[in-house]
């Protein structure tokens, strides 16, 4: 399965994503420059973390208009799996490919730590190998990760099953203490209505090796391989 990893000026998680896919999953991956307009040769897309365009103004605000984003929107529309991580999540919300907005952390501080998240939705290509309610331990590193939607939209998201991950305690409870940034309803990740576009603040690509703290992130990245299998089969038929 070929991963395309989109690099903007100021991205800094692109290389980690590349390593995670190549070393952790053993799959081919390539960096895709922000000026690229054709993404059809990739089976899935990662929008990595970083500070695209310095995150000046608002995180992700300027990157959203890069030429590559039109192509991302097109592929997303066509149902291709897209995963936005951290800054990638911010970019996807700014581009309205995902609902809501990411605001400055309630603590007003950048926070780098390991957190627990609970899997809330497994009907996305990025979580289909996971079990609902399962806990993952992942690193976070962001200053603008406070997920926000208004009350009406929140209800809508809950109803439609678009909340994919929530910050929880080590024993799986949703508490204020477990919430590292003040996100509404402890939301750590969401998906679009169709489920193929997922965004999350934690970094699965940094958790692909026990030597550096854990490998739970691989379970997310590996989930998408099932789509690859289907793809490969359909190609084989053709």
């Amino acid at each position: 399965m070929r991963f395309g990893i989109v690099t903007f000026p100021g991205s800094n998680g692109d290389h980690d994503a590349l390593m995670a896919v190549r070393m952790g999953l053993g799959q081919p991956a390539e960096l895709v420059w922000h000026t690229e307009t054709d993404l059809s040769s990739y089976d899935c897309l990662l929008i990595p973390g970083g500070f695209s365009y310095g995150d000046y103004l608002r995180a992700g605000a300027i990157a959203r208009f890069a030429p590559v984003m039109e192509a991302v929107a097109r592929e997303a529309e066509a149902g291709k799996p897209v995963l936005g991580i951290c800054n990638g999540f911010q970019i996807l919300t700014e581009a309205h490919l995902l609902p809501g907005a990411l605001l400055r952390n309630a603590s007003l501080e950048f926070v780098c730590d390991w957190v627990w998240v609970r899997v809330e939705q497994t009907r996305t290509p990025w979580t289909q190998r996971l079990v609902p309610g399962e806990l993952l331990r992942l690193p976070i590193a962001h200053g603008e990760g406070r997920y926000y939607v208004d009350e009406t939209t929140l209800k809508e998201l809950e109803r439609a099953g678009q909340i994919v991950f929530r910050y929880v305690t080590a024993d799986g409870r949703v508490t204020a203490d477990a919430n590292p940034n003040g996100s509404i309803a402890n939301i750590a990740g969401v998906c679009n209505g169709r489920g193929n576009v997922v965004g999350l603040m934690p970094h699965p690509e940094r958790a692909f090796d026990r030597l550096v703290g854990g490998d739970d992130g691989l379970r997310i990245l590996a989930s998408v391989l099932d789509v690859g299998l289907t793809l490969a089969r359909s190609r084989g038929v053709r």
């Binding site: 103004l57 208009f65 907005a101 400055r104 007003l108």
Partner: protein
Amino acid sequence: MKETGRWRAEVFVSLRPSVNDPQGLAVRDGLRRLGYDEVEDVRVGRYVQLWLRAADAETAERRVASMCEQLLANPVVEDYRFVIEPA
């Protein structure tokens, strides 16, 4: 295009009232700690100054409005307002 005039726009972007503003709270608390007990509430937003060329005030206004919509403010969480004057 014969853009004759030079304009200065001041754009004020603020979080919608319904959105929590921890920075505003922190500033309020900071001010109170300094003895400004009379401060009841604080909201912190962005102040963007733009210098641009446009044929007339109306064009400038139209262009700045669309810059705000597209980039300068995020309608999901922010409100904006701007003024324009000849620069």
